[in-house]
């Protein structure tokens, strides 16, 4: 199974793990889940759409990352997954 990981569990960062899957699944763990889970979900979804990625499982472990950080880490994780042998 192809997998890609990017980011860290440091403050203001996010660790994104993407795995090839049969369907799209997004799991979010966040220190600000109560306030921003929907926004994080939308950011992940729109980034996946932009990249034409449909069948992956995204695990997002958020430590208070801003939108641009989530996008960047997700894109890196996807690129790393594609390169994963």
């Amino acid at each position: 199974m192809k997998i890609g990981v990017a980011g860290t569990l440091e403050s203001s960062d996010v660790m994104i793990t993407v795995r090839e899957a049969d369907a799209l699944k997004i799991t979010i763990e966040s220190i600000v889940f109560a306030y921003f889970s929907e926004q994080i979900h939308n950011t992940i979804l729109s980034t996946l759409r932009e990249m034409n990625i449909t069948n992956v499982h995204v695990l997002c472990q958020d430590k208070g990352a801003l939108d641009y950080v989530i996008k960047a880490r997700l894109k890196t994780a996807i690129e790393r997954m594609k390169q994963h042998a």
Binding site: A6, S11, S12, L66, Y68, V69, K71, R73, K75
Partner: protein
């Protein structure tokens, strides 16, 4: 016109998030030495999205890319060149590298329809670069040159010291090359982040020699650098008096006049104008 440029590791979201509160004149988003070889892709992506998120900004946005002798620089350039980017900082710069980089920027700017010219700050950190610095300063895109004394010392096989006697020659080479082209001479960072007195002394020396600005490797260094490289209140007050006296002298048809018993002529007036320009730029008036 710069005083302080702060290095920010390109793969550190916490530092990027707070980068614009430290009052430096510019940020150097670092994709080179501050980023582990396994994280180059991640840092590149993060810096690219950071820049995109900065639709309006008052700070100069600089990216230090990886050197042209590495397999990373092309991807770095493709990722970070955008409307929000002001300047590329090029490590271990030689004339051929700056020529190649200028051509690459021509192409990327055209492809991405960027409506401004991205500038270049070459870093002088090889003996060869010291010898080529006059030529480097003449490139149209180059609007400042940074002395990188740590790598240069390695290339020269010498030891770096706090007094910096060993870098006097390259410091002067950078200063004269820059002053001849009216661009910024930017001094090497002071690497002991806990020695504020040492930093202040190093800044004073660099300023006395003719450097315009200095790089910071820690946010705590920025205010000290700004203090030293800004015109002092005393200098600003003097410059204002010179300009006032000049206006009165002009009304009387005099090109040379005296102030506080000292002769004031064109070079002194030009110095006063420069002080006031800097003071205005750095909002000190």
């Amino acid at each position: 016109m710069r005083r302080s440029l702060l290095f920010i590791p390109g793969n550190n979201p916490a530092m990027l998030q707070n980068a614009d509160v430290f009052e430096s004149d510019g940020l150097i988003l670092d994709l080179e030495d501050a980023v582990h070889i396994n994280e180059k892709d991640s840092a590149r992506m993060l810096v690219s999205h950071y820049l995109e998120s900065k639709q309006t900004h008052s700070l100069e946005m600089i990216v230090r890319i990886n050197g042209l002798d590495t397999p990373y620089f092309q991807k770095d350039l493709q990722a970070v060149v955008c409307q929000q980017l002001d300047t590329i900082m090029l490590p271990k710069a030689k004339v051929k590298d700056v020529l190649d980089l200028s051509k690459m920027l021509d192409e990327i700017e055209q492809t991405k329809q960027i409506s401004k010219e991205i500038k270049i700050i070459p870093i002088i950190e090889l003996a060869q670069s010291v010898l080529e610095v006059n030529e480097l300063a003449r490139f149209p895109r180059v609007n400042g040159i940074l002395l990188g004394a740590e790598d240069l010392s390695t290339d020269l096989e010498i030891e770096r010291t706090k007094p910096g006697l060993e870098i006097i020659y390259p410091r002067f080479c950078v200063i004269y090359a820059c002053k001849a082209q009216k661009i910024d001479a930017i001094d090497t960072p002071f690497t002991d982040t806990k020695d504020e007195q040492g930093l202040s002394k190093d800044c004073e020396t660099a300023k006395m020699f003719g450097m315009n600005a200095k790089t910071a490797i820690h946010p705590n260094q920025v205010s000290i650098i700004n203090d030293v490289f800004s015109p002092s209140e005393k200098n600003i007050a003097w410059a204002k008096r010179v300009i006032e006296a000049k206006k009165k002298a002009e009304a009387s048809g005099l090109a040379v006049f005296s102030l506080d018993g000292k002769m004031i002529d064109k070079p002194i007036i030009d110095r006063a104008i420069n002080i006031l320009k800097k003071a205005e730029k750095f909002q000190l008036l």
